[in-house]
Structures are given as structure tokens and as C-alpha cells.
Amino acid sequence: MTRTPSGPGDRSGPSGRSDRSGPGEEVDRLELEAAGALAGAASSAALAEVETAVLGKRSALATAHRHLAALDPDARRAAGKALHDARARLEALAAARGEELAAAERALMLGRDRLDLTEVTADEVRSAVTRGRLHLVTQTRRELEDVFVAMGFTVEEGPEAETDWYNFEALNIPPAHPARSMWDTFYLELGQPETVVLRTHTSPVQIHLMEDRQPPVHAVIPGRCYRRETADARHLPVFHQMEGLVVDRGITFADLAGTIETFTTAYFGPDIHARLRPGYFPFTEPSAEVEVTCTICRGGGCRTCSSTGWVELAGCGMVDPAVFEAVGIDPEEWSGFAFGFGIDRCAQMRHVIADMRILTENDVRFLRLL
């Protein structure tokens, strides 16, 4: 701590001096010294110390003030005023000096902090890791789920290995039924031969849902499926499907058609339309194939859509009464519809993927691409 070089207490005690000029001169001298010290403070920190020294409790000025009590009333009045005036001037001086110093210090700090953004190199902004990406199939699945969730659907899931009952028979496809040739099936070496399968579609989850809970059901069922087919540009032996199932009172084919239209518009956009044409699935009656405007040519006709302007997207229909019977739901009270389509196919259509096999190659260039 720096101490002021002199103070009234250092040299003269608070003896009862009555010399009017004495105290006056002394005050002037003190003020002059203090003002010099304040002006000479080189930093805010130094100024704070000087302020304490020249204006604080133990300053010469304070000491002189304490000594006023020993003076006679007149002298005391005059000296008091002088002291008071001097203090006021010094305080103003300190404040001004403080502002001056603060401004200088801030200017110095800003100068030191200067960063020319045009000079920043790539290395300096690279973070430790770059953000990764969800697989395109996951992105697509989430978006499709969100579309249906917004329409009031729940999202349900089921196992990938199934018994013949769930994958086929309960869906009105009895053993050896010729319709089974619609699904090339992988069988597992478990139990009796050809009784345990890798599900060929997500439809068995329909059966689980209807067995496990009471209607109403409004669910979409995304999941991985398996068909014993050789991969090509438009098919993968392991692929992802999204099933929809609505079982409620008073559900009609018109509701199915409206739901499909809402979904295709929500996912593909307002200029993509859906149309239904008769089809065949053992677990729905009436059944329909869903075709949508070709996303490549926007309906104008191209190679992808064989110049028709339409491409197949999904299968759908009203839940067959035989399926309700298999799960013990009264078809007189409840009705429903179901639909199913390929998640990978949606991704292919939306993102104009020429060959679907790229989805399973795990080429990081592709994984980073979309």
C-alpha cells in the first residue's frame, strides 16, 4: 500500500492552533498533493489505492477534519469549509480520472481482443467431431411416423421372426395356399420345418395388436421384413415396411381412400396424387393397389413409370372378415382398413435413388449425403 508522503497527523498534533491562515494553507497544500497523486494514478487499480490514501479514513484530509474539534468556533467554521470544499473538488477529480482510466483500459482490451474474421482459417473453426447423420431409412421412417402421428395414429412394433400363424394363417392365408407364392419366404431351422419364418411383411403385427387389445386400434407399424429375392435396383431381400391398421366403428373404404390421400400429400407434397385400383390381398376385402403420381416426371410420363405417369406405392384394403374372425373381433360391430408400403421405396422415390442397393452398402459418402 502506498502511503501519502505526509499528513497533518505526522507533523503536528491536534494541538489547539488558532491561526486562521495556518489551517487554510495547510488545506491548500494537502489538496495540491492529493490532486497530484490522483492525476498520476496510471490505472483503475492504482487510482482506487490513491483514493483510499488521500480521501479515506486514514488520509491527511480525514485527520485534519478530526482535528477541527480542537479549534474555536470561528476557526473551526472556516477550516471546516475549506476542508469540505477541498474534499469535494478532490472527489470530482477522482471520478473524472476514473472515467478516463476506464475508457483507456477498455480501449486497450478491445485492441487486444481484435479478431479479423476474414483471416480465420478452417483449422481454427473445426470442432473436435463433425455431427453424424441418421440413415436415410431412419430419417424416412421418422418422417412417415410423424405424418401418421399427426393424423392420430400410434406407432406399434413387432418381432421379425414369426410363426406361420401370424405371418400367414391368421391373415387368411392357410398353409399351402397358392397366394403364399406372393411372398418368397425365408424359413428358420426351428421347430417343425417351415413353421417359423422371417416375417415377409409387417402385417403379422396387425394380428398381435388385435389379439392383445380391444378395439379401437389406430396404428402404424414400421419394421424390417425379409423376402427371399435377389436384390435389384428396386428390391432388397431385407427391407422396411410400414403397415397401417385402423379398427373402429363405422370405418369405410372412403376413410381408407381419404387416409391414403392425406398421407401421400403430406409426405410427397401437394402435387403428388394417389389413386386406387383393384388388387388382391388375402387379408383385405375389398383390396386395392395404391398408385401415386410418378415423382420423377411429376406425371408427365417417363421410363420409371413406363410412360403412365403413375407408380405403385402400396397395397391396402378393408380388413377381411376372416381376419377379424381369427382374432375374435366381431365384424358386425367393428370394421377397419389396413395398408402397407415400403419405407425404403418412399425414400427411393423422394430422393431419386437409382439403385436401392446403395442403402445397404454403408458407403460413408452416401451416409453423409442425405
Binding site: V129, T130, G132, R133, L134, H135, E145, M151, G152, F153, T154, V155, E160, A161, E162, T163, W165, Y166, P174, P175, A176, P178, M182, Y187, L188, L190, G191, Q192, P193, T195, V196, P216, H218, R224, Y226, T230, G250, I251, T252, F253, A254, A257, G258, E261, R277, P278, Y280, E285, P286, S287, A288, S306, P321, S335, T360, E361, N362, V364, R365, L367
Partner: protein, 858 residues
Amino acid sequence: MKAPLSWLRDFAPFDTSDPTALAASLDDLGLVVEGVEHVGEGLGDVVVALVEGVDAIAGADRIRLVTVDAGAGPLEVVCGAWNFAPGDLVPLAPVGAVLPGHFRIERRKMKGATSNGMLCSARELRLSDDHEGILVLNDVEGARPGVPLTEALGVEPDVVFDITVEGNRPDAWSIAGVARDLAGRLRLPFTLPAPAPAPDLGTPVASLASLEVEDLDLCPRMVAVVLDRVRVAPSPRWLARRLLLAGMRPISGVVDASNYVMLELGQPTHPYDLDRLAGAGLVVRRARPGEKLVTLDGVERTLGTPGRGLGDTGEDCLICDAEGTAVGIGGIMGGESSEISDSTTRVLLEAAYFSPMAIARTSKRLGLRTEASARFERGCDPWGIDRAVDRFCELVGAPTATGKLDVRGQVPAPERILVSSRRVRAVLGVGIDAEEAAALIEPLGFGAETRDDGLMVTVPTNRPDVRPAPHGVDDVIEEIARTYGYSRIPRHRPSWPEPGGLTRYQRERRLVGDAMCGVGGLEAWTPSLVDDADHVAMGLTGAAVEVSNPIAKEEAWLRRSMLPGLVRALARNANRRQGGVRLFEIGIVFSHPDAGARTARGGASGSETAVLPAERELLSSVLASDGDDARSALAAWRVLADALRLEPVELVADGSVPGLHPTRSALLVAAGGAGAGGTTIGAVGEVDPAVAETLGHPAENGRIGWLEVDLGRLLDPSVTPRRPDQARALSRFPSADVDVALVVADTVPAARVEAALVRGVRGVREAGGAGAVRGVREAGEVRGVREAGGAGEGDGGLLESVVLFDVYRGPGVPEGHRSLAYRLRFAALDRTLTDEEVGRLRRRAIDAAAADTGAALR
């Protein structure tokens, strides 16, 4: 199925001017047109020419100068095909001709030779796909030089629709069937002409042949006729041409007539050489177990034995001669012995209705699918047999024995179904009144009488897709909707009071994926069907679930781990100079039921309990960016744990996790679950470099950090507890930090020291109370701020956090010990803690650490 328009017009007067409109109508009926082919157009200028000479062209080794005569003298044509010689008849397109596809023939000069036209291949004429060489016409009756090609071939311009018929519409899998549907839609009259009677042989059929059906359940109806003085000769040109257009190769009159009837009416028939049938008759019966027969394709078939498939009873319907020797598999394929040959004069024609399921069973087991079996298994019209037989006799034209042999069992008869208008509206969402509905389905052959409340429908026997009532009601409604037009049904967006949404598990699974992306992970999709050798390579013991009928050996097992797939994906990318990545996958792995089973309804009719593989959904991640190792995996785990707001999860060093680095890996053990010691929810560490090498990732490519978590356990708060989800008050008063350095034996896990410090502050008697930090942590690990206790736990509420910030071994610390430096942060909700209070809490923490772990203040 290929349906030529000219053939369809035999049954209804379709307009030939706009085939595209016809195709659109077929599409809308569910008879999907895959292609429309215009044949025989643009051939008007092409003539038959005789090749007179073939000469080389100087300096050309691929083309030759051909001299032809098309009736107007020699003409020189340059040709690049080599499949003909002088004396052959070939098609010539002279200069000025326009071939299909608007291809105009010009006079051209090639290598100095002038070509005055073009010799054509079958493809250039759009007659077939054959482009191997020039179409040689030597065998074509009526082909003479100068004759127009269309005249020589009997080719008229035609349109062929390539139609895919759904499996439930056997009736439409025929020319007449397509015509019936299309005529109905276009409101055109449909007629099925009655075949002209064949000349009567004058001999009763029963005196020439016999027919016996022993097993009427397999063959509910069989009809046979006998034709005599049959000339085995090529079919008439018009018939052969129709067969060709429909995609069938003409063979000879009798066989062609049988095929023609099948294509036209959908009813397969089978002609036998009556003189080669022992006993001059047929017996139909079940095959005896193990009975053998050589079918027409030359393959010996073993019959009468159940196959692997569910529901295969092993019942096969055999056609035998009258002495009981098998001559064919009913409805699927004939045998060699009684085949029609060049010397055949007497023909026995058999036409039957076989049980569709029996045909499907046998066809599937034998892997033998024929035009006939495909039709029989879908269901032919048992009452359409007579017309088919008559049509065959008409086409062959040979004298036919009087009458038919006809054996019947339980033959399906027309069903009657009441379809109420209320149900129509309930299913379709649109009202179609009974009169309109009747008008829609009557042209398809349905009988329809209007009733007060709807329609009484009689279902024709060619429509096996329409089941008996009650299910058949909806089948009829489908027919009404199909003929009404799906596009005319209004669209309505349904709504319901129940809210939609994702389950908590589904939401948090998304969070897991997002967190992994946040630490730089790219999500991969690796194979579910793998090679078991990969499981062995990573040290998994026990069995994998095997696929019975894999496409390839490398895809013959269900994956038990995603490690091989992910490491291989890294390796493949590294080979493309795309190394240095982090991959993750969220997917299912399967356990063999020996190791983890699930049960479900199975067996025939779902009457049994079947054992299935257990399925677990895992997050697996390989971290192989530059410098990645176990620490990177641990960092990723911490991000994930924090994202899910998990209570602390123990890390238990474990050298025996299959596939993982034995000294750089640990199990993740959560506090909850059934077991007393918590539940293993995953593992973190590094892939064993030896395993990585086996999977194609050599050590010089760097270490691979590994993180795997079972999502079922991770996302179940009863197994992996979460931090409280209720807000606790935060102190607004200054906190006080106290650092304590404790010397502890290496054998004492740091986590126990931390737990003791927490216990001490709380003033709890023993370690292990609720919320206490449990478990084991590897020494030297420094981690972030952790919640330690909540409000309202006595003085525990004063401890805001405990952080291990330094680990020291060396001079000043005894051998076998290390110094663990913790920073304890204290704060109270209602005041600034005094130095005395903080000192007291510190003392209690140190004392507890000393008592529980033998820690000494350094």
C-alpha cells in the same frame, strides 16, 4: 397373360381405334396392363425374296453383297447377317418401305457397294424378339418370291395387351374372362359362342374308353371324350398365330388345340393317346406313399409322401391307366408313356376340376408349376368343363364318340348370398342402390335379384374368389366397387378421439440416435442375415439361428451381434480411403432359443405354442475416427447417459466380453432390474484388435472404440434409473468449494471413495443408501459434475456436487496407493454457509471416507 385384341373381339365388339383407352379401362378393373404391343404394323411394303447369290465386298469383313429376287428381277442388297445362303427365302424391305417404328429404307452406299433395300430380322419386323439373323422363311407355307410378307405369314396388324391377373381371379386368366370384364365396364354385349358340334363318330364313348375316379375329394369332377381318325399335323395358321401372340409355341394340332382352349377359356385339358393307355381308360386315385412316375419333363417324381411344409398331407392326385399304372400327376403334368405322338390316331381328352388346395400342395412340394397347375390351384370353373371339351373337339374337327364320360363328386354349385344395401354403404362409405349394383355385376355372370333390403346374388361357379356367406358378402361388395370404379368412391379423412403419438421408448430411441449423431456417428444398416463364421471369429459361443433356405451361405444365419457387420463396414470404407469414421446402428439381434427364447402361437391354426428366437434391440457403435479408442467410446457413452439423464451406471472392467479388447473394456451395469447386483445393459471399450483384423480391419488402421447398449434395458427406468424428473430448488447463495486429496489403496475403486464422501456429508450411517453412488470405476478416470443427493435429504442437500479432478501416483504417496483429489461444492438454499459449517461437512466427508475405504488425508 398376353391377350391379342383380335382374340378379345371374338367375344365383344371392342373398338380397335384406341387401344390406350382399353388399357386404361383394364387397369381400372384391376387387370393391370404391363405393356401394349403393336404387332404386324408397317409390314405392308415387305415382300418375300429369294437369295440368289452372296458375294464379299472388297475391304469389308462384316457385310456382304446379297443378290435377291423378289419377283422383279435381281436386286443387290448389302447385309450384315450371315445366317442364310443362296436358295433361302427372306423378307426384303425395298427402298421406300417404312418399317415399324417409322424406319424408312433408303438407297445407301457402303464400302463402295449400293444397297437397294434391307433384309430384315424378326425383331426389325416386330414379329418376335429374335435378332440373331435374318428371318428365314423357307418353312413358311405360301412364301414365294414377290408375295407380300403379311400374306405369307397370315399376319394382320394387331394389339397385344400384356396383363397381370391377380391370383384370386382365375376366371380372368383367360381371353374370354378378360373380354367379359372389359365388356361389362364398356357396356358392350359379351357373348361366349357355343362351339359347333364335331362330326359324330357314331360309337358311344363308353364302349371305347372307361373313366373311374376313386378319390373324388381330390378330383370332384372329371370328363373324358374320345376322338378318332385324328390327323397329327401342324395347326391352321390363324390358330398357330394366336398361340404365338399369346406367348405359346405351336407344336401340333391336338396339343395346340388343348393349349388354345386353356388360353381362351381358362380350363386346362389333357389329351392322351388312347392306344397307348393300357386298358383304354383312366383311373384317378391317391398316390401310394413312395410311388414313382417319370413326368413329361423327363424327371422321376416320388409321390404320396408329405413334404416339409406345414399342412402338407402328402396326398397327390394320380391319373392312371385302366390297369392302375400312373400316367400323370392330376392337374400338374402328364407322363411320358401316353404322350400324343406323330402316330397318334385315337385321342382321349380328359378335362377335370381338381381340388385347388390339393394341386397347390403337390405343385409346391414337387417344385413343379405348370400352366395347368397354376390355373387349377386358383380354381377353375367345374361347370365350364363341358364348353372346354366341346371347343377342343370343334378345333380338332375329328369324328368324336357319342357322349361324354363324366364322373362327379361334391362339385361346387352356385352360392346364393344376400348383400344388404346397408352393408354396401358400411363397407364402401357410399350408397349404391340395388338396381345400380345389379346392373354392375350382372354382366360378369352374377345373378342379382333386388330385394327390399338389398340384392340376392347368385355367384357363378367361375368365381371361386367369392366365398360363401357371410364372408362372401364383402367379396360381392368388392365386385360392386370394382365395377363401379374405385375412383368414384368419395374420399373421407376419418378422425377419432384417441390421441396418436410415440411411446416413451420410441421417443427415447430417437434421442439415442440423435445423441449418437451428436458425437459424430453415421448410422449404418448392416446385414441381419450373416455368416456364422463371423460370430465364431468374434468369440461368441453357442448356436445361431439358421435359415433353412438361404440365398447364400454367407447369409444363412441370423445375426447375434452387430459387431462384425459394423467392423466390416469400417473396413470397406477404409479400402475406399474413407476411413476415420464413427458408425452406429440401432437394430435387432437374435438369440437361439437355447440361449433366450420367446413363445408365440404357432403350428397349424395357431393351436400350438411355438418357440422363437429372443430378439433384442441394440445400439452398437464403432468409433474409428483419428485417435479414437476406448476413451472415445466412453465419452460417447457419457453423452448418451447425460442425454437420457441417467443415474450413475457402473463400469465393471471385464476381460471376457466376446469381441472386445480384454484389458480395455468394461460392462455397463445399471442399478435396477431383478438381480441384486444390478443389470448389465451393455459394454464399452475397444474392439479386440485380433478380431478386427479377422474382420478386415488391420491394426495399422487404428483402434476401434466400441459401445453397445441393450435399448430394452437402457430405456427401462426400472432397470436403468433416471435422475428425478422434478425440478429441485437451486441455491441463490454463494457456494463454497472444498478440495480434499485422499490417499487410497489401488484396490479401492474411486467410486467407493466418492460414495463414502457423499455418505459422510449426508450423515448416513452406512454406504449404499438411496441415491448413493454405487459401483466401481476404473482408477484415473476424471469425469464431469454429478448430481449428489437432492433437496430434503438432511445435510445431503448441502452438497451440490462431487468431482474427482486429479489422480496422482508417485513420490509422497505410498506404493500401491494413489491420491484422489475431489472438489466438494457446498451450498444451502436459504443462506451463505459459514466457514464453520463447511469445515464440519468437510470433516464428516473425510471421516466417512476413512471409515469406509481407509482413505487418509494427504
